[in-house]
């Protein structure tokens, strides 16, 4: 039985300001990731960002229904369950975003006519939920051993009314913000894989957010690497 790896990392960007843990500018909340905590799925991971927590499980490559099978690649399915209530239209929209992001990195052609299912359960939501879901999905796919051509991470930026950028906002910051942008970036070419935005913003602000996302994604990927190194070096 693999040991559970609990890895903590407090991340602060070099350009972050002030001594407070959340100064204005680029600083991400406390991260934590736990892998292989569920026994039934082939891979599972729990990702924590501050108080936001998402549990992900991956089943696959497994048998696929004939109606859903694709002859030359794996069929990817994402199920997102909210903390309270039944899944609605918003969850369907998020599932599509996460599924397309995973499809872009998973090497589906190595497992044709199979299905890979990613199940995400929101445990607590304190802001930056979509980014946390993406990170949990990536860690779970790695734990399941699904072949991927790159890792990906999600980063959320919030722009408040005077244009200040806050990375990894809490729910209060998200509510007060003028615009909230979530991006998914891959770690090989650092290209933008997915983007989902809420609110009004200008082109210049978009470029600013993209630059901040690139910087923040470096930290997230370093955290992934450290977390996995610690897990495999022990056993």
């Amino acid at each position: 039985m693999e040991e559970e790896m609990h890895t903590d990392a407090k991340i602060r960007a070099e350009t972050g300001a002030g001594s407070s843990p959340r100064g204005p500018g680029c600083s991400l909340r406390h991260f934590a990731c736990e892998q292989n905590l569920l026994s039934r799925p082939d891979g599972s991971a729990s990702f924590l960002q501050g108080d936001t927590s998402v549990l992900a499980g991956v089943y696959g490559p497994a048998e696929v229904k004939v109606s859903k099978e694709i002859f030359n690649k794996a069929t990817l399915e994402v199920i997102l369950r909210p903390k309270i209530g039944l899944p609605g239209v918003a969850e369907k929209s998020r599932e599509r975003l996460i599924r397309n992001t995973c499809e872009a990195v998973v090497l589906g052609t190595l497992h044709p006519r199979t299905s890979i299912t990613v199940v995400l359960q929101v445990v607590s939501d304190a802001g930056s939920l979509l980014a946390c879901c993406l990170n949990a999905a990536c860690m779970a796919l790695v734990d399941a051993g699904v072949p991927m051509r790159a890792l990906f991470c999600g980063v959320t930026c919030a722009l408040d009314s005077d244009g200040t950028l806050v990375l990894d906002p809490t729910s209060k910051q998200e509510k007060e913000a003028r615009a909230v942008l979530t991006f998914a970036v891959d770690n090989v070419e650092r290209k933008l894989l997915m983007s989902s935005t809420k609110g009004l913003f200008s082109d210049a602000e978009l470029q600013q957010c993209l630059a901040a996302t690139q910087a923040a994604s470096q930290h997230v990927f370093r955290f992934y690497r450290e977390s996995l190194q610690r897990r495999y070096s022990k056993s």
Binding site: V89, S93, A104, A184, L192, S196, T197, S202, L206, L210
Partner: protein, 276 residues
């Protein structure tokens, strides 16, 4: 012979065209299909519009009804969009509960309305805490040939511009609403969000306004919704191949020109029906 090649190797067939910087229907990579719009065709709806983007046809009908405003926002009304993709428009949709594509499109339209503040919800309030308008916007696709999001956004905008709400007064003695159907006024549309969709091919090439076949062969899609000041209401990129910053900039500039084209078309149509 070309038809046979197209069936067996659709992607390769397509690449031959892309090499020459054009597409099978003769368009250039940055060219939109012919856009036509028809306003006010449904007489039973309070506002309606039919938009055709090449073969893709979407009709939007807006009905206004009374409702009690939400308790946490007693001075606001509601705008409820719903996108329906019936089996009529394409063989890939079955009858029954809305499929994923329809739900994603509905959520997208709801986000565009929310983000762009196209209507100030306070304008829909008749009596704070007691009565407000709810606008049910039903978008039905009649023919699915790709780029459904652009067509829906345009249809919604045109239909909302066409909506005429009757004047409502609350009778103080009976506390009932009295509707004066003879006195109607247009909605106050504050911004004009216009969507521009792109498809990404082979991780590098970007084409504008993909048709149904092109969407199927593409490795990723991107939709940008812009209003007239160049502000972005929505940057919707549901996964797919990665994009660099430079490519995004090209898309932005194309979205700006598209906004101008659509705005011109809208103004022409509105002008042609206003004198009633």
């Amino acid at each position: 012979m070309a038809a046979g090649f197209k069936t067996v190797e659709p992607l390769e067939y397509y690449r031959r065209f892309l090499k020459e910087n054009c597409r099978p229907d003769g368009r250039e990579l940055g060219e939109f299909r012919t856009t036509t719009v028809n306003i006010g065709s449904i007489s039973t709806a309070d506002g309606s519009a039919l938009v055709k983007l090449g073969n893709t046809t979407v009709i939007c009908g807006v009905k206004a009804e009374f409702a009690a405003p939400p308790t946490d926002a007693p001075d606001k009304g509601y705008v409820v969009p719903n996108v329906d993709l019936p089996p009529l428009c394409s063989s890939r949709f079955r009858s029954g509960p809305p499929g994923e594509e329809a739900q994603v499109a509905s959520q997208f339209i709801a986000d565009v309305i929310e983000n762009s503040q196209i209507i100030q919800k306070e304008d829909l309030c008749i009596s704070p805490g007691k009565l407000a308008w709810v606008l049910y916007c039903d978008l039905i696709c009649l023919d699915y040939d790709g780029n459904i999001l652009d067509a829906c956004t345009f249809a919604l905008l045109a239909a909302l511009k066409n909506v005429q709400l009757p004047e409502v007064t609350i009778n103080e003695e009976t506390a009932l609403a009295e509707v004066n159907l003879k006195k109607k006024s247009y909605l106050n549309i504050r911004t004009h969000p216009v969507a521009t969709s792109f498809a990404v091919f082979d991780d590098t090439l970007l084409i504008v306004d993909p048709t149904g076949e092109e969407e199927h062969l593409a490795t990723g899609t991107l939709t940008i919704v812009m209003d007239e000041e160049g502000k972005l209401c929505c940057l919707h990129k549901p996964g797919g191949s990665g994009l660099t910053g430079a490519k995004l900039q090209d898309c932005m500039s194309r979205a700006v020109t598209r906004h101008k084209e659509v705005k011109k078309l809208m103004d022409e149509v509105i002008k042609s029906i206003k004198p009633k």
